[in-house]
């Protein structure tokens, strides 16, 4: 396998070096009025890009800009307008992205209540725009996926799979809608409850099955992927995966049947994909309870990278890795293992507040200093 993170010398012009064959990467990133960044123009390295600087200087905003270009929204906040620089009418994020020999300019403009997408200067509809660039995100506030309540892990699976399969996303939305309708019907003791239960069973069984299938694929990737210190990772969904939709349906029907009385009493659906367990195992034990700080970070990274691999297997394309605050809690060995795992598979944008740590990665890609919303190659 090509190891792009190694063959780029520190003086090589970024962009002049080719990435592994057929890899999608961002050659140039342009930003205007995003948080504290007035204007920035950055030539990126096809492999590893390390952004180093003190806190609140704009490092994460650079990653956020790539997120904006990829998905049209921020990965830091639900409210995209809060990312517009104070006093500015709109924010602008633009990336020259693509494969070697075929780059296009992807551009997103966000103003309050409005979003515009452009490809090579031409405005296009969101549907036409989506899928041109995909990014996976690691940031320490996502550690709640590992340690937070079960809901976080369910959401992680549903969102990652939803980004890959539009039908998955539709199934999740339809299930959530049926769930609220059924809950309302339970509360009122409505006459049409049986119909809502039937719809609930159908959509619930389908979502369970899809989620379990996705978890199994992630698990398979985790076993082959990034695993520092000989750790073993696994994703488990409970109840255990069944083979067919009909089986999943009768299983769920059985659970609902046994909870009938309690459900009516509390006016809520007490079993189903919205309450199922998603467990992350570290060496066979529940990571939510047992993982150390460094282990939790490694597991989250492993999940992000596994996600990236499933995406690649499914679409034949790689997603850009946005690794925020990849700080010193990852020791040298883990960092080294991570770079090995990412090398040649995708472009990575990494931020760190620790100069020594960042410096140790310099030989593997391009180091940038970020200060007061300005970016400089180091």
């Amino acid at each position: 396998m090509l190891n792009s993170l190694q063959y780029a010398g520190r003086d090589a012009a970024p962009g002049a070096v080719s990435q592994g064959p057929g890899l999608v990467w961002v050659r140039h990133l342009g930003i205007k009025d995003l948080r504290n960044i007035n204007e920035a123009s950055v030539e990126l390295h096809p492999g590893l890009n390390i952004f180093c600087g003190h806190n609140a200087q704009g490092k994460t905003s650079l990653l956020e800009a790539v997120g904006f270009v990829a998905r049209g929204r921020s990965f830091r906040t639900e409210n995209s307008r809060s990312a517009i620089r104070r006093g500015a009418p709109m924010l602008h994020a633009r990336a020259e992205a693509g494969k070697e020999g075929h780059f296009s300019a992807l551009e997103v403009r966000v103003q309050p209540g409005r979003r515009e997408f452009r490809v090579d200067g031409q405005q296009v509809s969101p549907r036409e725009y989506q899928g041109r660039l995909e990014a996976v995100v690691y940031s320490t506030d996502r550690l709640r996926v590992i340690r937070g309540p079960m809901r976080e892990r369910r959401q992680f699976l549903d969102r990652s799979a939803g980004a890959l399969w539009p039908a998955y996303r539709t199934d999740v939305r339809a299930f959530e809608r049926v769930l609220s309708q059924r809950n309302a019907a339970l509360q009122e003791g409505a006459r049409d409850l049986p119909v809502w239960t039937e719809r609930f069973l159908e959509l619930g069984a389908r979502l369970r099955l899809r989620r379990a299938e996705y978890a199994a694929r992630l698990s398979a990737m985790l076993q082959r992927g990034f695993a520092p210190a000989g750790e073993e990772y696994e994703v488990l969904t409970r109840p255990a995966r069944v083979a067919a939709e009909a089986d999943a349906r009768s299983q769920l029907a059985g659970e609902i049947q046994s909870l009938q009385r309690r459900e009516r009493a509390v006016g809520r659906s007490l079993a189903g994909p919205h309450r199922d367990a998603v467990e992350l195992l570290l060496n066979g034990r529940d990571a939510a309870l047992e993982a150390s700080s460094g282990q939790a970070r490694s597991l989250l990274l492993a999940l992000v990278l596994a996600n990236l691999e499933v995406y690649r297997e499914e679409t034949g394309r790689n997603a850009i890795a946005l690794l925020d605050d990849l700080d010193s809690e990852l020791d040298q060995d883990r960092t080294h293992a991570l770079c090995q795992a990412a090398a040649g598979r995708t472009q990575a944008l990494v931020t760190s507040a620790h100069p020594v740590w960042a410096e140790s990665l310099r030989s593997r890609g391009q180091l940038f200093h970020v200060s007061d919303g300005k970016v400089q190659r180091a």
């Binding site: 549907r127 539009p166 309708q181 409505a190 006459r191 809502w196």
Partner: protein
Amino acid sequence: MDYPAPVARLIDELRKLPGIGPKSAQRIAFHLMRGSRDDATRLSEAVGTLLDGIRTCAQCHAVTDRELCAICSDPARSAKVLCVVEEPHDLIAVEKTRDFRGRYHVLHGALSPLQGIGPDELKIQGLLERVREGETQEIILATSPTVEGEATAVYLARLLKPLEVRVTRIAMGVPVGSDLEWADEVTMAKALEGRREY
């Protein structure tokens, strides 16, 4: 500065309309203020008389200005096939095909416990009575492919099947006359799911 009371009142009323936000309401209000008195009178008369002459058909509950709507009173339209839709405008959509020669039944909504809409809020009793009269051979469930429309279709199917009438559901799939590549993934997935022998 606040708007003078008559303007503010108009804006408030306009804002209650579907699809009209505060800005659109303002724009419409100022458009009317700038226009001629005749235009304004015609509009207010049209709105004022709207509900006077309008009623729902005694049989199918479509919007009409008579006891029985034009379709229900047309002897050329077959009573053997009934197409069940949620709203009066859905009827217009089916009617535009000019291919359907049966009659309709408008439910005036879909089941939605969240909004307090249960079977009693919909025109379901009338539908059952029409079927019990015996002339109907097929019911086409043409409720929307939404969560609520789907649940309503399931509910109706359960009620109707014991009455020994054929119950069908409209198909969901790719739009006709365009290339497959333009179909969105979800519709495409539905179309695959609903494929048939050929």
